[in-house]
């Protein structure tokens, strides 16, 4: 029981951090082009293809 006192809040805190990270990435536009991101890894990194 005593371990729960800090373990449960810790778990919730970590989960909350995950939620915050998701909301941030959503606002950051990271889900705008999922297919494109998967394909772009095949393109050599060149200055003009930015």
């Amino acid at each position: 029981m005593s371990s729960l006192v800090f373990l449960v809040p810790l778990a919730l805190l970590l989960g909350g951090a995950g939620l915050a990270a998701f909301l941030w990435s959503l606002r950051n536009g990271q889900y705008d082009d999922l297919n494109g991101a998967a394909e772009r890894i095949l393109i050599d990194d060149e200055r003009d293809s930015q």
Partner: protein, 711 residues
């Protein structure tokens, strides 16, 4: 750009466009198949032409339509919050179910309550608002039992937590919100994506007109300020802004998109012109006879609004199911409550069982059953180059039994093509093509397209509006145009049609015919093979319609129809009990598109027609029509299967709930299982690709890129 599909495409488009002068930044979005370009300077680079040159033809979108969608962001945030709360409560519940001691259970219930409250307030509000909106109008929908179930479950669980009870339904209440929000979000995403795409396609209507004042000065006025009596100047390549009468000048008008007539119409002073038609060859001065809001274009919009009533009456399958379902659910819960109340007299027990009934019957699976299938179906259609406006369109197109086609621009390209160019002397054709290249007249473009550029350089080219083109080449005077004009100096034999003459003597005659869209015949045959009746409704002359109908084997033909006539024909078919899919592109089709049970338009269509249509196909091939019907029919079958699954599940679970055996554990398991079942069934649409012959190598939409001059 419907042709984008891999990393090589991204690279080709991005590097290709970046090479253009003034282009600052290019970014391809593969998921939406769009490219965003930033450039310096006031004039856009030749982007569409460059894209066509790269082999990736595109259409133009309006950038302001790309803005954020607050409703979508709200739904996704609500989904994230609900997911977080539901998962954490579920974790705590697992330990309660596996027999935590009373003190721990109590603590976990309190934490669960603290997590459920924000979920209820923030995420649940979407359902409460919707339920409240229909309740106020004295109706009911699926959100009413959901809202009641969630609120009761939360209230009773809170009561039990305070009074140290063993069971709490916090997990059920929050995961209910989570699952239902998934369905709601998918439904919205699909809605919004396709609608923005259709709305954003290039606009056709002019936004203003160049008005000539009495003192000869020119003013560019917004369309709304043009009043009858004003004189407006129109250069070749512009669209007629308002209905009017030609005052000066001679030209030819392309009426294909307005009336469905395939042949250009010559106009001279005194003749009336309709708003929306395209001025082809010479400058015109037009005296307005109507205001913009009473012009032909506006008339079409009014006809459309009048016609839309029929479609608005269509009720979606989910709503119809909810109308049957929610009274049954409410009644069952009430009967269970009253029954247990009478049997035991224990009100707490009775309420617990009534809530269990509400939760177990809550249409989790029903809320997902329709949207998930429609999202998968719309993705299939998107891959085939077809945009869907909303889910109800997929339901409606699956019901049709008749397909009505427009001719000009739909079955055919609306632009003429040279008949049998090989019968002409290659040399004559090359000369004609070299001259024709200097003109934007549809017949000239057809001749120019029939021969490769031979490097001839005609000089002193002059275009005589309504007559033809004159040019000097190798010391001879050539005329390409109407026979009576080109051969006038010879004073000789009366020829008809379009000819090329050298110094007044006949060199070659040209005949033109309309080209069918690719796969037109195959599409019509496929539709007929699927048990659908085919009707042809055209505004063109019967002589022009009959050969096309003959080539496609269509028997039911109506030619020379006015826009209102098309609507009447559709209404007549509807009173026969037939459900019609209208496929059309012109302004004159817009009311019919709005009137029909379901409608489809090519991306080259007039913008109000495109807005009226449920489906817009980006590729050139007409095979999009049978593909859309086939996908929609498969989707309809999967939706019905999903409903059957959901009802079967309820039939099994309901007796258990009424008998009082549903603990929070069983409720959570049953709910998740039925949702997973329904989602898995919907994904079969994607897996069963062989069911639908999607022609992936459909013709590239190259022709759509032929820009109208001046636009």
């Amino acid at each position: 750009m419907p042709g984008l599909h891999c990393a090589a495409c991204i690279l080709a488009v991005e590097t290709g466009l970046a090479r253009l002068p003034d282009v600052a930044q290019v970014r391809v979005n593969l998921s939406t198949r769009r490219v965003a370009v930033q450039w310096r300077g006031a004039v856009a680079p030749e982007l569409l032409a460059a894209l066509a040159g790269l082999g990736y033809p595109g259409h133009l979108f309006e950038s302001e339509e790309e803005g954020k969608d607050p409703e979508r962001d709200r739904l996704i945030r609500a989904l994230a919050v609900a997911g977080f709360c539901a998962m954490n409560i579920m974790l705590l519940s697992v330990s309660v179910w596996s027999g935590a001691e009373a003190g721990t259970r109590q603590a976990f219930h309190w934490i669960s309550a603290a997590l459920a409250l924000p979920c209820l307030i923030y995420s649940g509000r979407i359902f409460f608002a919707s339920a409240w909106a229909v309740l106020r109008r004295g109706r009911t929908n699926m959100d009413v039992p959901i809202s009641i179930g969630i609120c009761l479950a939360f209230g009773l669980s809170l009561y039990d937590t305070i009074h140290d009870g063993p069971h709490a339904y916090f997990d059920a209440a929050t995961s209910l919100i989570f699952f239902l929000l998934i369905g709601r979000t998918l439904d919205h995403l699909m809605h919004e994506k396709a609608r923005a795409a259709v709305r954003g396609l290039m606009r056709l209507a002019p936004r203003g007109a160049t008005v000539l004042d009495a003192d000869g000065s020119r003013n560019y006025l917004p369309l709304g300020e043009v009043v009858p009596g004003m004189r407006t100047a129109l250069t070749a390549g512009e669209r007629v802004p308002v209905d009017g009468i030609v005052e000066e000048g001679a030209s030819e008008l392309d009426c294909a998109i307005a009336t469905g007539e395939s042949a250009p119409r010559s106009v001279s002073p005194g003749m009336p012109v309709q708003a929306g038609t395209l001025n082809l060859s010479g400058p015109l001065t037009i005296r307005a006879t109507a205001k913009a809001e009473s012009s032909f274009l506006a008339e079409m919009v009014r006809l459309m609004e009048a016609a839309e009533g029929g479609r608005a009456r269509y009720r979606r399958i989910a709503d119809r199911a909810a109308a049957l379902y929610s009274p049954v659910v409410h009644a069952t819960a009430l009967i269970a409550f009253l029954g247990w109340m009478m049997a035991t007299g224990d009100w707490h027990r009775a309420i617990t069982i009534a809530i269990a009934v509400l939760i177990i019957t809550c249409p989790c699976a029903l809320g997902l059953a329709v949207p998930i299938v429609q999202v998968v179906a719309s993705r299939r259609l998107f891959e085939a180059g077809i945009m869907v406006k909303d889910g109800s369109a997929i339901e409606r197109i699956a019901e049709i039994d008749t397909v009505a086609f427009d001719k000009t621009g739909t079955l055919t390209y609306g632009q003429p093509q040279l008949v049998d160019p090989t019968s002409l002397q290659a040399n004559d054709l090359a000369i004609a093509a070299a001259i024709a290249r200097r003109s934007s007249h549809p017949l000239s473009r057809a001749i120019a397209a029939a021969a490769p550029d031979a490097g001839l350089a005609p000089s002193e080219v002059r275009e005589h509006p309504g007559l033809g083109i004159e040019a000097a080449l190798e010391g001879h005077l050539y005329r390409l145009g109407r026979a009576e004009w080109a051969l006038a100096e010879a004073g000789g034999q009366p020829e008809n049609g379009t000819v090329l003459s050298r110094d007044g003597a006949l060199v070659a005659c040209f005949a033109f015919a309309e080209t069918l869209r690719p796969q037109a015949r195959a599409a019509v045959d496929a539709l007929r093979g699927g048990g659908l009746a085919i009707v042809l409704l055209s505004g063109d002359r019967p002589e022009a319609v009959q050969p096309i109908a003959g080539r496609l084997g269509i028997d039911e033909v109506s030619a020379g129809l006015l826009p209102a006539g098309k609507v009447e024909r559709l209404a007549a078919l509807a009173t026969e009990g037939r459900k019609v899919l209208m496929v059309g592109d012109g302004l004159n089709d817009a009311p019919a598109l709005a009137m029909a049970h379901a409608s489809m338009a090519p991306a080259s269509a007039a913008d109000i027609g495109r807005n009226a249509a449920d489906f817009v196909f980006l590729h050139d091939g007409l095979d999009a029509v049978p593909v859309a019907v086939a996908v929609a029919r498969v989707a309809g079958r999967l939706v019905r299967q999903n409903f059957a699954l959901a009802i079967l599940y309820n039939a099994l679970a309901l007796p258990v709930a009424i008998a009082g055996y549903v603990t929070p554990l069983i409720a959570a398991l049953a709910m998740s299982l039925s949702s997973i079942l329904v989602v898995a069934n919907a994904l079969r649409l994607d897996a069963g690709r062989a069911l639908v012959p999607v022609n992936a190598s459909s013709q590239p939409a190259g022709r759509l890129l032929v820009q109208e001059p001046g636009e």
